[in-house]
């Protein structure tokens, strides 16, 4: 019997082992880099909730550039946040932007590794602060690439962008100046109220300090008055998402079935939309998300009013909207994912 067929020679065994050693040496730093990247992303997530920061950021949406002023503070465990558009007409109240919060960036969970690779990039400098680039690179073309630049000392996010298929940012914000400090825990400050005891918004500081404050124990910043924001706004991003109900399978209401979903996405049910003045029936709302990218699927019976709308395709920065009529229903898909993903979802939604 020819034993050489059964047992590999010592030479080839050594070769294979050598290759394994070389490969493991090569891959180990990558694994560590990934872990460090995820750790820094999760630190950033905490920092966005727990730190006081106030600054100006440049905001790019498609080809449109604007600037915003953001104030986020935590006093006695209560978070307040206010964002004001700086390049629009009107008073500060009318220019206040509802629904925008840096703290809405989700935490990274281990399952996300199945669809994204988290890479630690080079050092960069934003708003005169040194930061580290982290990339969440999708493993398919169903979602956007996400790029962060994070201050490694404080964990503060200084630059964030979604990159489309053309390798250019579809949406981005970047701080041009920022003050970062630790939250105050024991100092109680009264809310600013008007004569009718309504909470009012204080003036935005006209001169925003260009000097960057290193993370030190916070001192009272008299230029920024505390503002109470509505309960709805405080809870809008994270707490209300807990209302979402995970579906055990891809069977939706009224005989609709999502025949397949892109890898990593899961489907949840959101509260149905209440009937509007022109629409008598409820619209079912489903949320499809992989944790970092998400989209909404709306299914509503087709009415005579909707019939004239046609098949809609809208793009606004990272946001895409696609509608299509199907089985006497109008399907609307909205999400910060490429348009092809939305079409894929609509095609896979079938009435049984």
């Amino acid at each position: 019997m020819n034993t050489s067929l059964k047992y590999p020679s010592l030479k080839s065994f050594t070769k294979v082992n050598g290759l394994v050693v070389v490969l493991s040496l090569f891959l180990t730093p990558a694994v560590y880099a990934d872990e460090a990247a995820v750790e820094l992303l999760n630190r950033m997530n905490r920092a966005l909730h727990e730190l006081n920061y106030n600054g100006t950021l440049a905001y790019l949406k498609g080809d449109a550039l604007s600037s915003l002023h953001i104030e986020h503070s935590v006093r006695n465990g209560v978070k307040t946040e206010r964002v004001v558009r700086l390049n629009e007409e009107g008073n500060e109240v009318s220019r206040e932007l509802q629904g925008f919060s840096l703290a809405s960036i989700p935490r990274i969970s281990p399952e996300m590794n199945a669809v994204y690779s988290f890479d630690m990039g080079r050092e960069n400098r934003i708003a005169n602060i040194s930061c580290r680039i982290i990339t969440a690179r999708p493993k398919d073309r169903k979602r956007y690439l996400q790029k962060y630049c994070i201050d490694t000392k404080t964990g503060m996010l200084l630059d964030y962008m979604l990159v489309g298929k053309s390798h250019k940012p579809v949406e981005q914000f970047m701080f041009t100046s920022i003050k970062i400090s630790l939250p105050e825990k024991s100092i109680e400050e009264p809310l600013v109220k008007n004569k009718d005891s309504q909470v009012v918004i204080s003036n935005v500081p006209t001169e925003i300090a260009n000097q960057v404050v290193a993370p030190v124990i916070a001192t009272k910043d008299s230029s920024v008055m505390p503002v109470k924001i509505s309960a709805k706004k405080l809870t809008s991003v994270l707490q209300e998402k807990s209302i979402l109900r995970q579906l055990p399978n891809t069977n939706l209401d009224d005989g609709w079935v999502m025949e397949s979903l892109p890898v990593g996405f899961e489907i949840m049910q959101a509260p149905s939309m209440k009937p509007s003045k022109v629409r008598g029936d409820e619209t079912k709302h489903y949320v499809v998300s992989d944790g970092l990218s998400s989209l909404s699927v709306f299914v509503s019976p087709l009415t005579s009013v909707d019939a004239g709308i046609g098949s809609v395709k809208i793009n606004s920065g990272a946001l895409n909207v696609v509608t299509q009529e199907k089985n006497d229903h109008i399907i609307t898909v909205v999400g910060e994912v490429p348009e092809s993903t939305l079409r894929n979802i609509i095609n896979n939604l079938q009435k049984k």
Partner: protein, 220 residues
Amino acid sequence: MSNSKKESNGVDQQVSLTEHLSALFDDEAGPFEQRRVLDELKGNDKLCKSLSHFALIGETMRSRTSVAVADDNFLAGIHAHIDAEPAYNKVQFEENIISSTNDATNLVAKKQRSWLRPVGGFALAASVAAISVIGIQNYQQADQSTGTIVMTQDVKVVKPSQVATVVEGAASKMNARHEYRQANTHARSFLKRYVDSHMEYASTSTFVPSVRVIAYADYK
């Protein structure tokens, strides 16, 4: 200049080019750097090898599985086939799309071209890959911009003349299959409700929920 100085300059230039190449790979190179590196790749074997190494390293780190290693001549093959191809331009690309809708003519043409497939497979793939680096991204962006609708959550009154300008400008770029419609009050509120609800329950991005509907593409 002494030989040693010349050599050190050559080494410096190579280091700088490798850095530019790395930047290109990380999508951090500007248009000028991109052009320079792509030009340099035509005649610089060392840089070609660096490109292959970067691609291999990146792919291995991302997939963590075995990857196919391309031959060093792969890039040379791409360049050779690009040189052999007729000059690329957008009009030609659009003509190809339009011709694909003429089924009968197209079928005959496809049959006639079928012998080219096995021979030209590599050429086509290589060309597409290279074009995607050089120029097609511009086309895609132009195409995407046709679908771009200027939207904001605060619905604003827009003068009809402005709408006409937007629609006309977009229409000149867009594919003939798309039509642009002016958004009426119902269409605006219809879309706004959905975007609002998405922002409330689903959105994971931190971006400004601003959508201003002036017109939308009807792709039927």
